[in-house]
Symmetry: C2
Subunit: 344 residues, 2 copies
């Protein structure tokens, strides 16, 4: 049998004060001076009765829900969230932890056919949103129009009014490619997802091209393989490359998950990594070192990305800072998936 839920009025009565006083004490408001003994009385009543504030009611009255939204891509439009990719899981863990430390909870929702994310944000009175890896122009406009702070992660839409967190994607592409060149490769392919103008893949491709031209390696657009960032596409591409006699000697895959599939497909097609073909990934997620061969890859710090994103939305909500655009560094992690070629 559910016991009656204690509310503020109960506490006020028990302590012999008004609800306003209880509210002041609970919220530790520095602009209200309360007698220490009153505080004590109230705190005891709270403890005695086991009072837990109702944040929904508080949100209604104060217009602050202390709820943050996290918007991540969906596997197919309007269905499941993309948490199978461990990148998002890692992001969420860190984001939630950072937000929780600052008194915010996280609401997770995808969008359905009849409901945009703006709808969700409004319905749930979200105080702020972090948008990862998607640029939904209409949603972002709507959020702005409704005064809901948003932070963009991994997006080059560059709405300069919004805070953002990215990594140095171009440099990542550059590092990966330059490394392959330094290992003697001269025909280097790139496997990537859709090349949208706001996406990270386009930046990584830029870095790739930049490295090639900087080192006088000829470019060949037939070596640019653009599909989806997925294990499946990687396999498919790997199989087809294995059959193709004039394939490059190395491939830079713009995500580990793509590299995993690629390696799988190449092996299935009868090739050995790195003996027959070299592969470099991007992310340095948990499984990169666990592959066979261990994956040489561009490392990014997802933990920091997520924590900073949380700080930035909260800053925007609490109006502590004007918007800022953070770019995190990347680095190359050398493992076993690249072969040193002897140049003739």
């Amino acid at each position: 049998m559910a016991t009656k839920r204690i509310n503020m009025k109960d506490i006020a009565q028990e302590a012999g004060v008004s609800t306003a006083t209880v509210s002041y004490i609970i919220n530790k408001r520095s602009d209200q001076v309360i007698a220490p003994q009153t505080i004590k009385k109230v705190e005891e009543a709270i403890k005695r009765l086991g009072y837990v504030p109702n944040l929904g009611a508080r949100a209604l009255a104060s217009r602050h829900s202390h709820l943050l939204g996290l918007l991540i891509p969906q596997t197919e439009k309007e269905t499941k969230l993309m948490f199978s990719n461990s990148f998002y899981g890692t992001f969420l863990s860190n984001f939630e932890y950072e937000a929780r430390k600052k008194g915010y909870n996280i609401l997770i929702s995808g969008t359905s056919a009849d409901e945009s994310y703006l709808d969700v944000a409004q319905k749930r009175s979200l105080d702020g949103i972090v948008i990862v890896g998607v640029e939904l122009e209409s949603d972002i406009k709507g959020l702005k129009k409704n005064g809901i702070p948003a932070v963009l992660v991994d997006s080059y839409g560059m709405d300069k009014e919004l805070s953002s967190v990215t990594i140095d994607d171009e440099n990542g592409g550059f590092l990966a490619t330059e490394y392959l060149i330094s290992m003697g490769h001269r025909t280097i392919g790139i496997a990537t997802g859709y090349l949208t103008k706001e996406g990270v893949n386009t930046e990584r491709l830029k870095g790739y091209k930049h490295a090639l031209s900087a080192h006088g390696v000829p470019q060949d657009d037939t070596y640019v393989y653009s599909g989806t960032i997925s294990y499946e596409y990687g396999i498919e591409l790997g199989l087809s490359l294995a059959k193709s006699p004039d394939r490059p000697t190395a491939i830079f895959a713009t995500a580990d998950i793509l590299a995993f599939g690629l390696v799988k497909g190449l092996k299935k097609g009868g090739l050995k990594i790195p003996e027959d073909i070299s592969v470099v990934g991007f992310d340095d997620g948990f499984m990169a070192s666990n592959m066979e061969p261990a994956l040489t890859t561009v490392r990014q710090d997802v933990d920091s990305k997520a924590r900073i994103a949380a700080q930035l939305v909260i800053d925007a909500i609490e109006e502590k800072e004007s918007s800022s655009n953070i770019v995190l560094p990347v680095s190359l992690v050398e493992r076993e998936s690249v072969r040193k070629l002897v140049v003739n």
Copy 2:
């Protein structure tokens, strides 16, 4: 500049009706008969003004938040959520999707030193909770006392009043072990996490022992390796086994992630899989087929687990069903990590 948020009163005015009528229409209440033309007027006003209901206010008035909590383990007490393990990501994706289809959103929160999950549930007026892989007795008692429906996933606490979803863990352990026996193995180890009485590991161990005795294979407790369900422990164990001359010829790891680490460690220690030692995992997550060698493992259907969990909490909330305890089947997926031994 944030435009004023439209509320129900605005709609009532615009349509020339009362807020009660608007409320009836929005909630499509079958016990209220409304003139079709009134409905039309109101719906048009809603469209014209772009009204989005405030679910927080609705929750306050109706005592239903349509918010579900998902409680998963934390990496260390009171810090980050365990989403780096892709099992939980997959679970969340499916759970959120199923819940969303039924009009519920998901709140994600870990617990901190000063705040139990019961506090979170109360503060946020959660309508129901799904608890995955943890048995927090005090929290569960508290939830019950406060009348908050909870569903237990992967827990053998067997609070029969609560709905639960598990898989046939014991059978999974049995299948894995019996398979190894059928492949000629006679010294078979098991690598597992903590053996708590409510946890899945204990059940899988039961299945392992059952298979051994059913086939007359002698048991040896020195072959039971109990640590944590983590990549790191797997590596550690693999390295130590590689050094140990009287190691078993096969190991059943009660989680893929453990098997990944184990294989890594064994290889590091100079052994070949499956030539020198065979490994079977549990989960059949995304990466199992991507290992080298591809992992033979017990398959469980995480998608169904999550969807059913969502259905069960919602049933409990809406009092459609009395509690039920669902057990999902498992199966063995044969790949390349087990060698057939010729028995002398």
